[in-house]
Amino acid sequence: MDTTRRGFLGSTAAVSGAAMTQNLAQAADEHAHDHQALPSEPALRVKSLESLLVEKGLVDPAALDAVVDTYERKVGPRNGARVVARAWFDPAYKARLLSDGRIALRELGYGGAQGEDTLVVENTPHVHNLVVCTLCSCYPWPLLGLPPVWYKSAPYRSRAVIDPRGVLREFGVTLADDVEVHVWDSTAELRYLVLPERPAGSEHLSEDALAALVTRDAMVGIAKVALPQKGTRL
């Protein structure tokens, strides 16, 4: 890219006067525009790879569309929020969920890739749980969808285990001195979901209204669940 730019400037150096300035400005503008419209290098490589794999009959492009659609539209943190709300609403379900997550999650229809063995860990006034994968990016896909960039990034993966309280402070969660922090590093094929504390004052809410309060961040353990500010209708 640099050589192209230098070459371009070099070749216009001979042009003189106002025309040059104008042409240069115009060309530079077009250049910038072209650059934006140009597909990125990985985009080109993926396009070429996909067309090769399709031509060889190794993948079905419609299956690829379906996988993308599944994770963009169907599977995401709303699933996990439904589980959390059910646990808050139904103490018997919560007991099953904490003793054997696999069975309790299957009751609600959740399982499958990267969620075959999910453990649910409960936040209480005395214990705060935080989930990480220091080695790669393990995450409970069926319940939360695909992980956000920060979860997969070096800063989070490196610090969550050595400085969980600092990480939590960065996300705006300050824990009392007597709270125990339990960090869960997903090093094997177990996946973790945090059951956040039910916010005080939510006793009158329906299961659906409770689910609407639960965020992805709370289920990873970097946030708490809060009631909406006064004046907001539920």
Binding site: L49, L53, V68, E72, V181, A188
Partner: protein
Amino acid sequence: MNGVHDMGGEQGMGPIQYEKDEPVFHASWEGRVYAINRTLGAWRKWNLDASRHGVELLPPADYFRMSYYERWLTRLIDISIKTGLVTREEVESGKPAPGSSKTTPPITAANVEAAATIRASARRSEAVAPRFAVGQLVRARNMNPVGHTRLPRYVRARSGTIERDHGVFLFPDTNAHFLGEKPQHVYSVRFSARELWGNEARPQDSVHIDLFDDYLEPT
């Protein structure tokens, strides 16, 4: 292997960059890479552990320079070539080799959903005896294998307590290299933050890690 992917406890990686209302994929090619990975795996030329190891084999500078899905793309191409699904020439030209025959993909739009939910778990039904019991004090081995391992460096030679026996799973260290599944017990091991990081850590804080029988020894 002692690679840069094993980053628990590293320092100086900078602030955590949180993106509000982050999209699932930041560009459509990321979604394609993800989907190709998922569906191409159905040819069973490799397994999840081999695939993870593919990312670990990236040179450190590339690992940090690349975005997450660029790493996936690179290892996908590498492993597809290594296992003979495609050739380097085909990847470079984007065209099948002259005279190669066309096959039928195992995953199609019709069965993709079913395939996603029945995807093979790493749990195994073999009756393997556990080497350790819940409540037992254990030490993570000090080992430095050059191949794939899921024993992070920050717990090696540290002592912890078995809190839960998760049952029997295939062993990534052998499975990643196609050396067999070597099924064995996986335990949730609790390490106190002080054992891992010293006296500046809070005495009540802990890290829980899932470790295989072969990673542990009695204290």
